[in-house]
């Protein structure tokens, strides 16, 4: 499965957020989207998923434009992990994950034993099997995030789109989610995620896209994209990118900000 985004312009009905965005993503690859708040990461994701109509350009899967696809066909290819929010309805965690099977259930059928087995398998794979009977509204933010990931996996997508999957997690869960992303890519799934942490991109991404003011400022391997110059340009802060020997003997790249030498919050940025 191959995703091609060509010259995409995106935004809301009366306001364009970004344009000229092109990239491709193959199965087994992890693309990490970095960029300041308001840079258009979530809007770009929603446009790729056709939750928003593109203002221009196209989104192709295996050379076929998704513009004419039904929701059902889209959902069999794309899994979406939105930013975890407080639930509205007290569905149990097991029920939420089972909803990921919607695209695989016939029009008037109910979930089969097989669908329930898939849901349980995904809960177990993410180590949250014990949460199954708990109401979604009463679990922690990190647990909600893991539940939404399990739901997207139950969909068995070829392309997984994750909007800041590590945002509300504690350190341990962040590492677990990043490890899970690596595993998913190894199984041939194409993963596209956004994050605010350059170190997370170093840890799991094959390629990094730097989205700034709705345009791709940089696109390439993490070591080439995440540099002192590019982060100063996009975030307006000073960082040091360096290499460290890891406990397992391999070399890890890390990004450390220099406090005090950064200019104050620049006025051009929008919140959110």
């Amino acid at each position: 499965m191959r995703l091609d985004v060509q010259d995409l312009a995106f935004g809301y009905a009366r306001k364009e957020v970004g344009r000229g965005v092109s990239f491709s993503l193959a199965g087994g690859e992890v693309l990490c989207l970095l960029g300041p708040n308001g840079g258009g990461k979530t809007t770009l994701f929603k446009t790729v998923l056709r939750l928003l109509a593109p203002h221009g350009g196209r989104v192709d899967v295996d050379g076929d434009s998704v513009a004419g696809w039904s929701r059902l066909r889209l959902a069999r290819v794309f899994g979406y992990v939105p930013q975890a929010q407080l639930g509205v309805f007290p569905f149990t965690v097991a029920e939420i994950v089972l909803m990921g099977r919607t695209a695989h259930i016939g029009p008037f059928a109910t979930p089969s034993r097989g669908d329930r087995a898939v849901a349980e398998e995904m809960l177990a794979a993410l180590g949250i099997g014990h949460l199954a009977p708990r109401p979604y509204t009463e679990i922690s933010g990190g647990e909600r995030q893991l539940t939404l990931i399990a739901r997207a996996l139950a969909q068995r997508p070829a392309i997984l789109v994750m909007d800041e999957p590590t945002a509300s997690l504690d350190f341990g869960n962040q590492v677990r989610v990043l490890a899970e992303i690596e595993q998913l890519a190894r199984r041939g799934i194409a993963v596209m995620l956004s994050t605010h942490d350059p170190d997370h991109a170093f840890l799991c991404a094959h390629r990094v896209a730097l989205l700034h003011h709705g345009r791709l400022a940089r696109l390439g391997p993490p070591a080439e994209v995440i540099t002192r110059e590019s982060l100063r340009e996009v975030y307006g802060v000073d960082v040091t990118v360096t290499e460290l020997p890891r406990a397992d003997g391999r070399v890890a790249r890390v990004c450390v900000p220099t406090l005090g030498s950064s200019p104050p919050l620049h006025s051009g940025e929008r919140a959110g």
């Binding site: 939750l51 059902l72 959902a75």
Partner: protein, 221 residues
């Protein structure tokens, strides 16, 4: 009450229930489309649907005659084809009541749909539900109380319709003379006792409907 009054009351209820059912079928889809879709001519549809709320009922009735009368834009071909005309029939009373109460249901339901969190619909889309099924299974159930309130208001408006009904359906006892028209006739002919009974019944019904609408509205908020 006299048998004539009971006939009028029964006729009014039949007309109001039919008009409300028609409004549910037509008004709820219009409200959904106005709330959720952006298309060319959207403001025009909004204007046309709302117009009966603003125009005098006799003007709406006049337009209906122009449209549906025996020599009307739609009425003439229908008469040529079938030899039948809708004017001055029971159906005309239903159509007049439907058109006059349509704005109430469309505006109430539209507001209820607009207050439904779009992310809940988007969640259904990303899981593979079509727009139609998402509307039926997510949006409309969440807008339930607003829809009920709109139906109740539309029913009350249909029950009290006078002007447009008189224009298109006339005032034929037993066929198109609903309660408001019968009250008018009774007053004109000096049968004040008769009109008083019908006025009391209509007032009581309207109060009940208003209380029901308020309760539904309070639960929706």
């Amino acid at each position: 009450m006299s048998p004539d009054s009971i006939t009028a009351l029964w006729l009014s209820l039949q007309v109001a229930v039919s008009a409300t059912a028609l409004n549910a079928l037509v008004g709820i889809p219009i409200a959904y489309v106005l709330a959720r879709r952006r298309f060319w001519g959207r403001n025009l549809v909004d204007l046309l649907v709302t117009l009966p709320l603003i125009l005098p009922p006799t003007v709406v009735g006049y337009y209906l005659i122009v449209l549906l009368g025996r020599r009307g834009v739609l009425g003439a071909p229908l008469y040529a084809l079938t030899g039948w005309t809708v004017a001055f029939t029971w159906y005309a009373a239903v159509i007049a009541a439907t058109v006059m109460s349509l704005p109430l249901i469309v505006r109430t339901v539209r507001a209820a749909i607009e207050s439904v969190d779009r992310d809940l619909e988007r969640a259904a889309y990303t899981l593979g539900r079509s727009e139609l099924r998402t509307a039926l299974e997510v949006t409309l159930p969440l807008a339930r109380n607003g829809i009920l309130a709109g139906l109740v208001l539309a029913f009350a408006r249909a029950l009290g319709e006078f002007g447009a009904t008189l224009m298109l359906a006339g005032n034929i006892p037993g066929r198109t003379a609903t309660v408001p028209l019968s009250i008018y006739t009774a007053v004109q002919t000096g049968e004040s006792a008769e009109s008083l009974a019908l006025v009391a019944v209509l007032t009581a019904l309207s109060c009940l409907v208003l209380i029901a609408a308020n309760r539904l509205g309070a639960r929706a908020a």
